[in-house]
């Protein structure tokens, strides 16, 4: 057994908590079916929203691209069933803001007819760039929850020497079992997907880590991974082992630097469901249009996992699991620790929807009247990132955003361990989320102000320059004009002077000539007279 040879490490803190995972793993994964109306949000990922490429009234087929990627860090979206586009409009999506974002609404025709797919038989020898392009065009994003475009993650920066691929199957959050069921029922897809990603990254070491509360998934994966060189490792069950940085620490002993990414220490981490989606896109040409979603919680009588078309309304999923919701119950997308509450069941599923928790008050951790902090330090003891949650709480409360950053706020993974153990029921994570988004907003404002200042200064400079240039032009023109007139005058004067001089000269010449002629005339008769006399 390969698994037993690897030395495992520990991260700081963490919490042992009841898993509540048995309920939803009793039944096999079933198809959720095709709902009448599908709502595809154009932004289901980190990065730029997709741009719609269909119009209202268009007929679309299952798997047809309806929104193309809006940038490098972005992902396309596809129709998850065949039908007619009835609207492209802003609609509410599962997001804590409750904001509406542009969505494509498809009225399904029930035929569920696929677009022409392009399978790739020899994917194990295919060009790496072709593989990346197929993954990008399939709109695959991290299915563990963050929804970061997978193709971008599989294109590490040139200066990062990647030597390890870690596949995250830990699934540490209570209630969620979608990855567990995927690994049990489709281990080959996961392992083939891992092999494809390993080839793209060109790494030798490849480890799949999953918590030891999933023995069936472990056995299935190990059988599938036999002979591939992919290591399957069981890790101790403690929340939040499924955090990317925590799993890396457990499996390799390495720590991702503060505010850094795993690529900086030569590691890329991907989720098991992402691996399966990569396999389907590369081998069969299928875009990411469905995923397994766990529907569980005290408010459903038949909790199970459903293979769900992206865009299916949450209430459609609930309807498959015999719900009995009371007014105190809450709908949560995700688990009880990190999930986001949903306003109602009409919201569509997105690529990041791993679980729909119909939670009774008993399913939600640490509910109670918020009391003053007693400085017990429990939060510090359980923080998996080694932060000081209590200090950050004081600073966030006082809105001291520069001080809270001194405590490495941005390394907080928002796992909720601190809130879970807080004896005063303080919603600590909410304070950190508040502080993070406030700081981002301030940074955006600062950037905008700097841009406005530069542009304003430039405008002032330009006006000054124009004024100066205008003045210079005027001056130059004036100078030219004076030069011209004075030069002309001088020429005229010089000319007249010369004329005058010449005239005077001529007059003087004439006068002299006259005088000389007169003198000669006077002398000659005398001479003649003298001669005659002689």
């Amino acid at each position: 057994m390969v698994a037993t040879t690897r030395k495992l490490h520990h991260f700081h803190g963490g919490v042992h908590m009841p898993g509540h995972k048995e309920a939803s793993t009793r039944l096999p994964v079933a198809a959720a079916g095709v709902p009448e109306r599908i709502v595809i949000a154009l932004q289901q990922h980190i990065g730029a929203p997709a741009e719609p490429v269909v119009k209202v009234g268009d007929r679309v087929l299952k798997g047809q691209m309806i929104g193309r990627a809006g940038g490098y860090v972005s992902a396309p979206v596809h129709a998850s069933s065949s039908g007619t586009v009835t609207a492209i409009e802003p609609l509410p999506v599962p997001h804590p803001s409750g904001l509406t974002i542009p969505c494509v609404v498809i009225e399904t025709d029930g035929e569920d007819r696929w677009v022409d797919l392009q399978p790739l038989e020899e994917y194990s020898e295919a060009d790496v760039d072709l593989l990346r392009a197929r993954i990008r065009d399939a709109g695959i994003v991290g299915l563990g929850g963050a929804a970061f475009p997978t193709a971008v993650k599989l294109t590490p920066p040139a200066d990062a020497a990647i030597d390890t691929l870690i596949i995250n199957g830990a699934e540490c959050e209570p209630y969620i079992t979608c990855d567990d069921m995927l690994m049990r029922e489709r281990p080959e897809e996961v392992i083939q997907g891992v092999a494809i990603m390993r080839r793209i990254l060109g790494v030798r070491e490849c480890v799949v880590g999953l918590e030891d509360n999933k023995p069936e998934a472990f056995r299935a994966l190990q059988a599938a991974a036999a002979g591939t060189g992919i290591e399957v490792v069981q890790v101790p069950t403690i929340y939040p082992t499924g955090g990317e940085k925590q799993l890396i620490k457990v499996l390799t002993g390495k720590e991702v630097p503060s505010r850094g990414i795993p690529a900086q220490i030569g590691i890329v981490c991907q989720n098991v469901a992402t691996a399966a989606a990569v396999y389907r896109s590369v081998r069969h040409g299928e875009p990411l249009i469905s995923r397994i979603v766990t529907v569980t919680g005290g408010a459903v009588r038949e909790p199970r996992n459903l293979d769900t078309l992206i865009g299916t309304p949450m209430e459609h999923l609930l309807g498959r699991c015999d719900p009995h919701l009371t007014p105190e119950d809450k709908l949560i997308m995700g688990g009880p620790m990190m999930g986001i509450p949903l306003r109602d069941g009409s919201l569509p599923t997105v690529k990041a929807t791993n679980c729909l928790l119909a939670a009774t008050p008993g399913d939600q951790p640490n509910q109670g009247q918020t009391m003053p902090c007693i400085r017990c330090g429990e939060c510090t003891r359980v923080c998996p990132v080694n932060l000081l949650p209590q200090q950050m709480y004081w600073h966030a409360r006082a809105r001291e955003f520069d001080k809270i950053q001194d405590y490495n706020l941005f390394d907080c993974i928002e796992c909720g361990c601190c809130s879970y153990v807080c004896p005063s029921h303080i919603p600590l994570v909410q304070y950190y989320r508040f502080a993070k988004t406030e700081i981002w907003d301030q940074e955006r404002e600062k950037k905008k102000a700097d841009l406005a200042r530069r542009r304003h200064e430039f405008k002032q400079m330009r006006i000054e320059r124009e004024k100066r240039e205008k003045a210079e032009r005027h001056k130059a023109a004036a100078a030219r004009a004076t030069a011209k007139t004075s030069a002309g005058k001088a020429g005229a004067e010089a000319a007249t002077d010369a004329d005058k001089q010449a005239a005077i000269q001529a007059a003087m010449e004439r006068a002299r000539a006259k005088r000389e002629a007169a003198a000669r005339a006077e002398a000659e008769p005398k001479k003649t007279a003298n001669d005659a006399d002689a």
Binding site: H95, M371, P372, C373, I426, Q430, F434, L451, A452, R455
Partner: protein, 185 residues
């Protein structure tokens, strides 16, 4: 007696020349306080404070001629930041100069624009694009929402729109139900 006078004089000369040298060598161009204040202002250049732009207001603040509560676009946060920097008491925004409101951007109704270029000249950040007898439009990313282009427009075709908030700009609210600080705090 003579030696003491000589010693003091020598010291005075040495230190005097040192200070004089330092004054030349480490001379700071401009007023750093004005720069610091200017960096806290929102740079809308709207003139609501009564000064022709953010920098003149910063200069007035630095010389103590203006109150810190005259910047409506900056609002509460700017007043707080200015109070911290200048060591003055925070005060509520002066109601006379305006009120804090959502960030807006200008928008030209293209059918009505006559291409007079008056708004182009009014825009402090050159965020309006156009030429004489050509239709004008606002570069949204660069508009500060100062509203200075509105009064010059002879056909009133410029309107202010609130900035659309996307998922990436959304902020988590401050948690409700504040627990008291408690005796331990």
């Amino acid at each position: 007696m003579i030696s003491a006078v000589l010693a003091i004089t020598t010291l005075a000369v040495i230190f005097g020349s040192l200070l004089g040298y330092a004054a030349v060598r480490f001379r700071v161009e401009g007023d750093p306080v004005v720069d610091q204040i200017d960096s806290l202002l929102p740079q809308t250049q709207c003139g609501q404070c009564g000064f022709p732009g953010c920098r003149p207001y910063a200069e007035a603040l630095a010389s103590g001629e203006a109150e810190i509560n005259r910047c409506p676009p900056g609002g509460e946060a700017t007043i707080q930041a200015l109070a911290d920097l200048l060591g003055r008491e925070p005060m509520p925004l002066d109601g006379e100069v305006g009120e804090e409101k959502r960030r807006m951007v200008a928008y030209v109704v293209e059918e009505e624009c006559i291409g007079c270029t008056l708004c182009l000249q009014a825009c402090p950040v050159d965020a309006i694009l156009g030429a004489a007898k050509q239709m004008h439009q606002v570069i949204e990313a660069e508009c500060t929402g100062c509203e200075l282009c509105i009064p010059p427009c002879p056909v009133e075709c410029i309107h202010m729109h609130p900035v659309e908030q996307g998922l990436n700009e959304w902020k988590w609210p401050f948690p409700k139900h504040q627990p008291p600080m408690g005796s331990a705090a």
